[in-house]
Subunit: 106 residues, 2 copies
DNA sequence: TAGATGCGACACCATTTGGTATCGTAATTA
DNA sequence: TAATTACGATACCAAATGGTGTCGCATCTA
């Protein structure tokens, strides 16, 4: 049996502007079927579906079937990994900024 | 005259694990020449150089020549864009977390 | 029941990505 | 001066990415 829950890097998932738009779209509504989502983009249903699959593999969206529709929902939790990665450099650029400030004030 | 400062998406720049490792490496030291950087990776100098070029196009690193060396330095500033993008969803997952907590406590 | 709708699964294609090896040149060192 | 080192530039390649169109099936609806 193959592992259907293919792993996917969150950083890769959010690298694409279409996928960031998808994330935002799903953040603004509770859940949406594929055909609805597709109307917000200038590409075919298949392409949108592929992007959603990538987001799903990164665990950023979940989906369930409702009749003949497939409803998609956002799961923002994995974004915490990005936040944690960033926090290290946040300190860093604050230090840099502070350092620069010191130099300018001399 | 062509614009040498090619634009590059910060999100794309940090999507690659090698490039995140590069960022971290440069964060830990003030500046490093290419040959030095290359010793930390299991790939050729050309490949590392390409990754550094992408980081440079995203303005995440700067470089200057010092004798025959090319020294690379980190510029964490563009990461702020990622932070700002994230901040929206940070609120969002806090709300979600709070909501879930409410449901569980009923 | 017949048609329309929503979607997954493919097959396909152009472009990008991430790596290689090689060559030429400028700077350092013996 | 001669050899070595550091690098940019280029050509090349396999695999991944981001899109298309089509087919078939399940589910609504008239």
């Amino acid at each position: 049996m193959k592992n259907t829950a293919q792993e996917r890097d969150v950083f890769v998932a959010i690298a694409d502007p279409t996928r960031r738009k998808l994330i935002r779209l799903l953040a603004d509504s509770d859940e949406l079927p594929l055909y609805e989502i597709t109307t917000h983009f200038e590409m075919g249903r298949t392409a949108v579906s592929k992007h959603l699959t990538i987001l799903k593999e990164a665990d950023l969206v979940t989906n369930h079937k409702k009749g003949r529709e497939t409803r998609y929902q956002l799961n923002p939790a994995p974004l915490k990994e990005v936040k944690e990665w960033l926090s290290f450099y946040e300190d860093f650029w604050n230090d840099r900024a502070a350092l620069l400030k010191d130099i300018l004030e001399e």
